[in-house]
């Protein structure tokens, strides 16, 4: 009885990973996991990769994600850096395809502006509410 339970568990361990790897198979782009030769370029590429959101796994940056789409995006970033493109232009290239959503650094416009201005607004609100405390007692 107990033996068959272990056999079932062992079978599950073998079977489950095969079920969850439903991502097909294909070559990983070379530049997805290979650093650029020039350390300055690699540093710039890494900064861009940390500021871009993975399309497949949504919460992670493409630098942190192991998803195939993140690999493709890393390769694209490294290739464009190697081609001499500026980090901001690469960010724009991604936004042109996936919208503002793909960037972890929202622009200072629209609802992004509210996000940037919120700390200042809250600070002024706090000062306004606490203004009585600064008044000299008479």
């Amino acid at each position: 009885m107990r033996f068959s339970f272990f056999v079932a568990c062992a079978l599950l361990l073998v079977a489950v990973p095969q079920m969850s790897f439903g991502q097909g198979s294909g070559p990983t782009p070379e530049l997805a996991n290979r650093q650029l030769g020039d350390p300055a370029q690699e540093k710039a590429a890494t900064q861009v990769m940390h500021a871009l959101r993975c399309i497949q796994c949504q919460g992670q940056s493409i630098a942190d994600s192991d998803a195939p789409m993140a690999a493709t995006m890393r390769a694209e970033v490294r290739q464009q850096i190697a081609d001499g493109k500026k980090p901001d232009a690469i960010r724009q290239w991604m936004i042109e395809r996936y919208g503002e959503w793909v960037s972890f650094e929202p622009d200072m416009k629209g609802s992004g502006l509210l996000l940037w201005a919120a700390p200042l607004l809250l600070l002024f609100l706090g000062l306004f509410m606490a203004r009585g405390l600064f008044r000299r007692k008479s």
Partner: protein
């Protein structure tokens, strides 16, 4: 107390937060990543055939004057199997459909087509997802309506169901 309205402030804050919670429950959440390429020309690409006997796909094949559908699929994708009958229905209603197979092997694509039928004119193989990235596509399956001049007119994310078939045919008609 000289400012009685201040008493109501906590209640207002709680009501606001409660309202947000109800809004989150009632309004369905859209988790999909929509392509920002809709309304723009297809990117340049030239993909090799995804399987034996069916030609590959380039952006020029999609800009030959006739509006058509571009289906992004994969043989390993289960919703792609679910939408197969509806792609077939679209084809029978006169839609021309081209496809891009994502991270796929020729023998797997052949087996998929043998099992579910082949509604496609051409199938390009995007093994590294490079073209998918250029299209602003975030997964499989997705279906684009492409105008006769190669402009992306509409993006349908997820599998095509029965209710989407007339809508996609209408989009193709509008594109004429």
């Amino acid at each position: 107390m000289n400012r009685p309205w201040l008493l109501w402030l906590p209640l207002a804050v709680v009501a606001f937060i409660g309202g947000l919670a109800i809004y989150g429950l009632v309004v369905p959440k859209d988790d999909m990543v929509h392509s920002a390429m809709v309304g723009r020309k297809l990117p340049e690409f030239a993909l090799p055939p995804a399987t034996v006997g069916i030609e590959g796909l380039s952006n020029r094949d999609l800009a030959d004057g006739k509006p058509r559908l571009l289906n992004i699929f994969a043989s390993w994708c289960i919703p792609c199997k679910a939408e197969a009958p509806y792609l077939d229905a679209l084809k029978k209603s006169g839609a021309e459909i081209d496809a891009i197979a994502i991270r796929d092997k020729p023998e797997d694509v052949a087996a998929f087509l043998a099992e579910f039928g082949n509604p496609f004119r051409r199938i390009g193989s995007d093994s590294e997802m490079a073209v998918q990235l250029k299209l602003g596509s975030s997964g499989v399956p997705e279906t684009y309506v492409v105008g006769g001049d190669g402009t992306i007119l509409y993006q349908h994310i997820g599998d095509i169901r029965a209710e989407h078939v007339p809508m996609l045919l209408e989009k193709l008609r509008e594109a004429q």
